[in-house]
C-alpha cells in the first residue's frame, strides 16, 4: 500500500494525482465498495427470502395462528412480546451502560478503567445460550425472593400484580438477562463517544467553575448525544432479535398480551416463537413463522431508521 510514498521530489506536480489513483488505492476502494455492496445484497436477499417464503403465511388456515385467528392479530401479539421484553431490558441497560461508560471515560483512574473496560468487552463474547441457561437455572431462582417482595409491596401496580411465577422465570428475569447481553455493546459505544469530547470544551467548562458533573452535563453529553443514541439503538436491535436467551428463560408458548412482569407463562417474542415452533410436527406453520420473521425485520428496520432520523434532526438543530 505504501509503495509510492517515496516519490522523488523532481516529480513534484504529479504525486497528488498519482497518490489518489494509485493501484493500492484502487484495490482498496474496490474492496471497500464490495464490502458495502455485499451487506446491501445480503440484506436484500434476507428480505426477499422472508417475503417469498413467508407470503403464504399472511393468510394461512386460522388454526395456524394459535391464540389469535388471523395473521395481523397473531403478529401484533408477538410483536408486543418482543417490544415488551426489549423495553424492560432497555430500562435496566441504558442508565447502567451510560453510567458505566462515564465511569470508565471520566471518573475511574486509569489503572481501574482499563481492566473494567476489558471485562465489559469480554461479556460480549459469551454465547447467548450460556446467558439463557444462566437465566433459567440461576437468575430465575435467585430472583424469586425479589419477585415475591415486589409482588407483596407493589402488587397494586399492574406491572407487579398476581399471579406470581412459581419458578421465578418471568419477563423481569428475561429483561435482566437481555440487559446484561446488551450492556457491553451499548457501553463500548458510549465510552468511545464520551472519550472523544474535545479536551478544550471540558477544560473550558471546568475553568468556568463547573463541577465535574456539570462539566459532563454541559460539555460531554451534548457532544455525545448522537453517539449515545446510536449505541442504545444497537443494543435495542440486539434485544429485539435475541433468540436463545429469551427462549430458555421464558419458555413461553402462545402469543399473549400482558404487562405483568412477574407471571408465567409470559408473552413470547417473535424470535423465540420461531425457535420453538420451527422444528415442530406441523411443517405448515413454518410459513407463518417466516412471515412473523418478516414483521420483525421490517420493525427493526423502521426503529433504526426513525432513530437515525431523530439523531440527524437533533444534530442539525445544534449546529
Amino acid at each position: 500500500m505504501s509503495t509510492h510514498t517515496a516519490e522523488p521530489p523532481a516529480e513534484a506536480p504529479a504525486p497528488p494525482r498519482r497518490r489518489r489513483f494509485g493501484l493500492g488505492d484502487r484495490v482498496f476502494s474496490g474492496l471497500a465498495l464490495l464490502a458495502g455492496i455485499t451487506i446491501m445484497v445480503a440484506l436484500a436477499a434476507v428480505f426477499v427470502f422472508l417475503a417469498v417464503r413467508g407470503s403464504a403465511g399472511l393468510h394461512a388456515d386460522s388454526s395456524l395462528y394459535p391464540a389469535a385467528g388471523n395473521f395481523v392479530a397473531y403478529a401484533a401479539k408477538l410483536l408486543f412480546g418482543t417490544v415488551w421484553a426489549a423495553v424492560v431490558a432497555m430500562v435496566f441497560a441504558v442508565p447502567f451502560s451510560i453510567g458505566l461508560a462515564l465511569f470508565v471515560s471520566h471518573y475511574a483512574p486509569r489503572w481501574l478503567a482499563t481492566p473494567v473496560a476489558y471485562v465489559i468487552d469480554l461479556l460480549a463474547a459469551v454465547p447467548s445460550v450460556i446467558f439463557g441457561l444462566w437465566g433459567l437455572r440461576t437468575l430465575a431462582n435467585a430472583m424469586k425472593p425479589v419477585e415475591g417482595w415486589l409482588n407483596a409491596h407493589l402488587g397494586f401496580i399492574p406491572l407487579f400484580s398476581d399471579p406470581l411465577s412459581t419458578s421465578g422465570r418471568s419477563v423481569l428475569v428475561a429483561g435482566l438477562v437481555l440487559a446484561v447481553m446488551i450492556i457491553p455493546i451499548t457501553t463500548a459505544i458510549c465510552r468511545e463517544v464520551f472519550a472523544q469530547t474535545p479536551r478544550l470544551n471540558e477544560e473550558a467548562a471546568l475553568a468556568l467553575g463547573a463541577t465535574r458533573w456539570e462539566m459532563i452535563r454541559y460539555a460531554v453529553f451534548p457532544y455525545a448525544r448522537s453517539g449515545v443514541i446510536a449505541g442504545v439503538m444497537l443494543g435495542l436491535g440486539r434485544a429485539l432479535g435475541e433468540t436463545m436467551a429469551v427462549t430458555f428463560v421464558l419458555g413461553a408458548e402462545d402469543p399473549l398480551v400482558t404487562v405483568k412482569l412477574l407471571t408465567s407463562p409470559s408473552p413470547p417474542t417473535i424470535a423465540s416463537n420461531i425457535a420453538q415452533r420451527f422444528q415442530g410436527e406441523n411443517t405448515g406453520q413454518q410459513v407463518v413463522l417466516l412471515a412473523t420473521g418478516l414483521v420483525l425485520f421490517v420493525f427493526t428496520f423502521a426503529v433504526n431508521f426513525i432513530a437515525r432520523w431523530v439523531v440527524a434532526r437533533q444534530e442539525r438543530k445544534l449546529a
Partner: protein
C-alpha cells in the same frame, strides 16, 4: 432540508440494521449447530468389513438423536466406509424431507398420515416401510421434598395439568396416596412450550384414559385452551424448571429424568395397581397395542393401547418410527439403508440405544416383524 436529513439518516440506519440483523442471525444459528448430525463414528475397528461404502443423508425426530448416534457408531464399527448423517430437524421436517427425496430415510415421532403415505408412495415407487425403532417411557415427575413414591391416577394427572387441582393435599391426590402425608404446597404443572412428540403422546394418554377431564385430542403442541401452569423449552427446560422449584410437576422422556436430583417419579395407575415407568413396561405396552388397520403390510404403525389394565405395562410412552423407501435408484444406498435399519431394530442395536438413550428395547416379536419389513428393501 428534510430530504438531506433523511439521506443522512438512511446510510447509518442501514448499517445499524445490518449489524442488528447479523446479530440476530448469530443468535438463531445457535440452535441449528448442535442439530447437524455428525458421523465421525465410522472409525474403523478392523472388524469384518461388509464391503458397503457410500454416504446416506437422513434426519427427523430429535428424540431419536441419541439413539441414532449409538446406531451409527455400532453400524460404523462393521461398515467403516459408510457415512450416515442424521439431522435432528424435527419429525415434521424429517417426513417432509423424506417425501421430497432429500433424506434416504427419516426418523419420526408419529406415524405418517394417509396423505403423507400416498405422497411417499409415489415418490418411492411403492409402499413405504415404517417401523417402530425407539420406545421411550414418559415420566411424570415432581419436586416435593419428603414425599416419595407418589401414586397418581390418570384423572388426577389430568386434573393437575388442567389446573383444576391446585394444592398437593387435594382430595384427589390424597385418594391415590392413602398412606402418604401430603403438604399444602401449591402445585404448578410444567409443560413443553415447543412442539414435541413427548407432548403428543402424553396428551394422547390423558385423552384416552381421562376423557372427562382431558377433553382435547392428542397434539404435539400443548392445547391453547389449557390455562395455568408454566411452560419450558425442550426436555432440559422442563427438567430444570421442575427440579428448581418445590411444588412443581412435569412430564419428560425417561432419559431426561434419569439421574436428576431432587425429584421423584410418580407411579401411574394402570388397571387397579400403580406402575412405575420402566423400559420393560413400555415395551410390554407396545406389545399390547395393535397396528393401525388398513395400512400396507410394510407399515408397522401402532395405535398405542393407552387404556390397558395389565399391570406389567406402562402405557405412557412414546414410539418413534424409522421410515424408508422399498426401493432406491442407487443399489449402494438401498444396501446401506437396509443394513442400517436392520441393525437399528436388531437386538444389538436396541441394546445400544437402551444403554445410551435409556429407551426400551423392542419386544422380540415386533423386532422380528420390523426386520421382516426392512428385508423387503431392494
Amino acid at each position: 432540508m428534510n430530504t438531506t436529513s433523511l439521506r443522512r439518516a438512511i446510510v447509518p440506519g442501514v448499517a445499524a440494521l445490518a449489524l442488528a440483523a447479523s446479530l440476530a442471525a448469530c443468535g438463531s444459528s445457535d440452535d441449528t449447530v448442535s442439530a447437524s448430525g455428525d458421523s465421525s463414528s465410522t472409525a474403523s475397528t478392523g472388524g469384518a468389513a461388509s464391503g458397503l461404502s457410500g454416504k446416506v443423508a437422513a434426519g427427523g425426530s430429535s428424540a431419536q438423536e441419541t439413539a441414532q448416534e449409538s446406531w451409527r457408531s455400532g453400524f460404523g464399527a462393521t461398515n467403516p466406509d459408510v457415512t450416515i448423517s442424521y439431522d435432528a430437524v424435527g419429525s415434521g421436517d424429517g417426513r417432509a424431507n423424506f417425501i421430497s427425496g432429500a433424506y434416504a430415510f427419516a426418523g419420526s415421532d408419529s406415524a405418517m398420515s394417509e396423505d403423507e403415505l400416498a405422497q411417499a408412495k409415489s415418490k418411492c415407487g411403492g409402499d413405504v416401510i415404517e417401523v417402530p425403532a425407539f420406545i421411550s417411557p414418559i415420566d411424570v415427575f415432581y419436586n416435593l421434598p419428603g414425599v416419595k413414591d407418589l401414586q397418581l391416577s390418570p384423572a388426577t394427572v389430568a386434573g393437575i395439568f388442567t389446573g383444576k387441582i391446585t394444592t398437593w393435599n387435594d382430595k384427589a391426590i390424597a385418594a391415590d396416596n392413602p398412606s402418604v402425608k401430603l403438604p399444602s404446597t401449591k402445585i404448578t404443572p410444567v409443560h413443553r412450550s415447543d412442539s414435541s412428540g413427548t407432548t403428543d403422546n402424553f396428551t394422547d394418554w390423558l385423552n384416552k384414559t381421562a376423557p372427562k377431564v382431558w377433553t382435547w385430542e392428542h397434539s404435539s403442541d400443548w392445547p391453547t385452551q389449557v390455562k395455568g401452569g408454566e411452560s419450558a423449552e425442550k426436555t432440559s427446560g422442563v427438567t430444570d424448571t421442575v427440579s428448581g422449584t418445590e411444588g412443581m410437576i412435569g412430564y419428560a422422556d425417561d432419559s431426561g429424568v434419569h439421574g436428576l436430583k431432587g425429584v421423584g417419579v410418580a407411579k401411574i395407575k394402570v388397571g387397579d395397581s400403580y406402575v412405575a415407568p420402566s423400559a420393560d413396561g413400555a415395551a410390554a405396552g407396545l406389545a399390547a397395542s395393535k397396528t393401525v388397520s388398513g395400512a400396507p403390510a410394510t407399515v408397522l404403525a401402532y395405535d398405542i393401547n393407552r387404556t390397558t389394565t395389565d399391570p406389567s405395562t406402562y402405557p405412557v410412552f412414546m414410539a418413534s418410527y424409522l421410515i424408508a423407501c422399498p426401493t432406491y435408484d442407487d443399489q449402494a444406498t438401498a444396501d446401506i439403508v437396509k443394513g442400517f435399519l436392520t441393525y437399528a431394530v436388531s437386538e444389538q442395536g436396541q441394546k445400544a440405544a437402551a444403554a445410551n438413550a435409556f429407551s426400551a428395547p423392542l419386544p422380540a416379536d415386533i423386532s422380528a416383524k420390523a426386520t421382516q419389513a426392512i428385508s423387503t428393501i431392494s
